[in-house]
Amino acid sequence: MATVTPLVEAVPPHPTVRIRPRSGWRIFELAELWHARGLLVMMARRDQKLRYRQTVLGVGWVVLQPLLAAAVLAFVFGTIARLPSDGVSPILLAYTGLVCWNLFAVTISSSSISVVAATHLVGKVYFPRLILPISAAGVALTDFAVSFVLMAVIVLVSGVRVTAALLTLPFWFAMVLALSLGLGFAAAALMVTMRDIRYIVTFGLQLLLYASPVAYAASAVPQRFATIYNLNPLVPLVSGFRWAILGTPAPAMGAVIYACCVTMFMLVAGVVIFRFREPVIADVI
């Protein structure tokens, strides 16, 4: 066979890895995220394993924390302040509120610090960075699962009649998770350059706990503050969550639609902010 030296060397048509300067808006690379799901699960499990390692009570903390908090809140708001509790016992009201609230708060606080906490990893190896805040939410999900089981037991024992509203529970759960993830993504990406975010998140969660119907019923809020109060999307979400379990008054439809819009907007905005900051994370960290 005659040997012909090609003038231009044939290059395989499809490179496996394309490295280009940052350009355009390749925001949602879901395929890549899906590809790295193994790592996502591995990191979430690592956090789980490490969380209560070398503690005496172990997973007991997951049960104890919201229970004690609920007792204190029920005492303060129910016994001392005597706020109306929509016809259920104050401790039940506070505990269901806290289960929902903790899902929100733990997701935000752990996902927002996830990128800064993984500084070392980010500077040394590539993986879709979105994995960090998502896997951090794993901790909140296990906490939720454990306290949810306990909540189910308490609710059944206390003789609350379960209504058809229970079927809407996955919806409230998904909304709260989506809202907290959206906020968590944005906070995680912004914290890389502004560590102030960490304090803003802590302080914001403190305020929001009282601005949401966690320890009291939304009906306790005076009518003239209702407009401002209802700006908080957690108001219909927590109320809805409680409605599904305890059959307390359902949130207004308009408020729920508003909360859905805010949640969707925050989720998209969170991802966009995160993807926009992603290329610089390794450089500035």
Partner: protein, 427 residues
């Protein structure tokens, strides 16, 4: 198959015109006028050009070494190719699975067991769970740690951690493996094992390895091709021997310039160091001067090979230092360390309590077994508890070793590093 094809294996990657700059934020000046909100959000910065217009071809089955001084852009190049950071200009296309090892044991967690860390580290490097399952026993066997897999890694010695980490990386099924200084750790035996593994995977499995190291011996023995980076640009690209030589001669040129400027001051039997600007450390001890003397205690800086040499360092205690450790390093003209002497903990605490009182420390080298050339002496005093430098002066003094006396036939020990004083005889 034509010889042309055989000589040029298929492309594993193409790098074209890669460039990257960093913004380096300048320390904020305490100036009330400049304190605007805008400034706080975007502080003044200088742009540092880390990489400019780098183009390379990567071929399969090739070990490509990258050499260059610190800050030449080697790490930036590897970071871009590992996708840790993005380039500003240019592009790179890689064909095949890329595994990068910018550091040994990325993501190792001290509280997790050996087994858990293998799985986590493997996943971080891009292995699937099934792949790790398949190779798990092999990895543990390669690291030689089968007895310790259920122990938290924090109970491992640092050598064991490195072995485990490299074992995971070595079993990464990558077509292109990017390694940054990873071999610089671990004991000699394990390093050899890693090098064997590396040449094995490249020659037999047709993988490509990109390898950055300051260890020129490793580069020479492993790499088939070498790239020399300087100030972010490719200066030379070709066969390893030629490129390494080009790199070495560039160092010598730069060093020659340094020698020329500091040389006059340091080329004396006694050198006053108080005026030197290259003091480094806490300043709790001050190295004031240093003196060289020969066999009979006579000051001098020229020594016949194999002769006795005494170094006297005059130090002053200025602050609080615990268990001071005195260090003396001899370096050749390539800035390579030839011998290091440390006083360690057996050294008596003799520093005078009276501040600023001279305290003489003497190092006696009975046989200066060096071949002809100029040698530099670095001096240091370190706090033996915190291991922080109390004072350190690089290139404090230089000494000259004369050529050794020839044997009776005019030959003998002449080239290399060490003078052993051998001679030829005819029987």
């Amino acid at each position: 198959m034509s010889s042309e094809v055989a000589a040029r294996p298929p492309l594993a990657g193409v790098v074209r015109g890669l460039g990257k700059s960093y913004r380096v934020v300048r320390p904020r000046v305490r100036d009330a006028g400049a304190r605007s909100w805008l400034r706080m959000l975007r502080p003044p910065a200088t742009v540092l050009r880390a990489l400019s217009d780098v183009s390379l071809d990567l071929r399969r089955g090739e070990v490509l070494g990258i050499v260059g001084r610190n800050g030449a852009g080697k790490s930036t190049l590897l970071k871009i190719l590992s996708r840790v950071t993005l380039p500003d200009t240019g592009y790179a296309d890689l064909y095949g699975r890329v595994g990068s090892l910018l550091e040994v044991g990325t993501g190792f967690h001290p509280d997790l067991t050996g087994r858990e860390n293998v799985y986590l580290n493997g996943a971080i490097l891009g292995m699937t769970r099934r792949e790790i399952d398949m190779r798990y026993d092999e990895i543990i066997a390669f690291a030689g740690l089968s007895a310790f897999t259920e122990l938290p890694v924090k109970r491992f010695s640092s050598g064991m951690q490195v072995r485990l980490a490299f074992a995971v990386a070595a079993h990464l099924d990558a077509d292109i493996l990017i390694i940054d200084e990873a071999l610089a750790v671990g004991d000699a035996e394990f390093q050899a094992k890693c090098m064997n593994k590396m040449s094995e995977v490249t020659s037999q499995e047709g993988r490509t390895v990109l390898f950055v190291s300051h260890n020129l011996n490793a580069i020479r023995s492993l790499c088939t091709r070498c790239v020399f980076l300087s100030d972010g640009a490719v200066v030379a690209d070709g066969p390893t021997g030629e490129v390494v030589d080009a790199y070495l001669s560039s160092i010598q040129l730069k060093d020659a310039r340094i020698t020329f400027t500091d040389g006059d001051a340091a080329a004396a039997a006694q050198v006053e160091l108080s005026g030197r600007t290259n003091h480094f450390g806490a300043g709790t001890i001050h190295i004031a001067s240093v003196e060289l003397a020969g066999v009979d205690g006579r000051p001098g800086r020229i020594f016949p090979a194999g002769d006795e040499c005494t170094l006297t360092i005059d130090t002053r205690l200025l602050g609080q230092v615990q268990d001071p450790i005195v260090g003396v390093r001899l370096k050749n003209s390539l800035d390579e360390s030839i011998a290091t002497f440390t006083s360690r903990h057996l050294f008596p605490r003799r520093w005078s309590d009276v501040a600023d009182d001279p305290e003489l420390v003497r190092l006696r080298i009975p046989q200066l077994n060096l071949l002809e050339g100029e040698y530099w002496v670095d001096l240091s005093v370190t706090d033996g508890v915190t291991f922080e430098a109390a004072d350190m002066v690089e290139r404090a003094i230089s000494l000259h070793v004369d050529s050794p006396p020839p044997d009776r036939y005019g030959g003998g020990n002449q080239e290399g590093f060490v003078y052993m004083g051998g001679w030829f005889e005819v029987t």
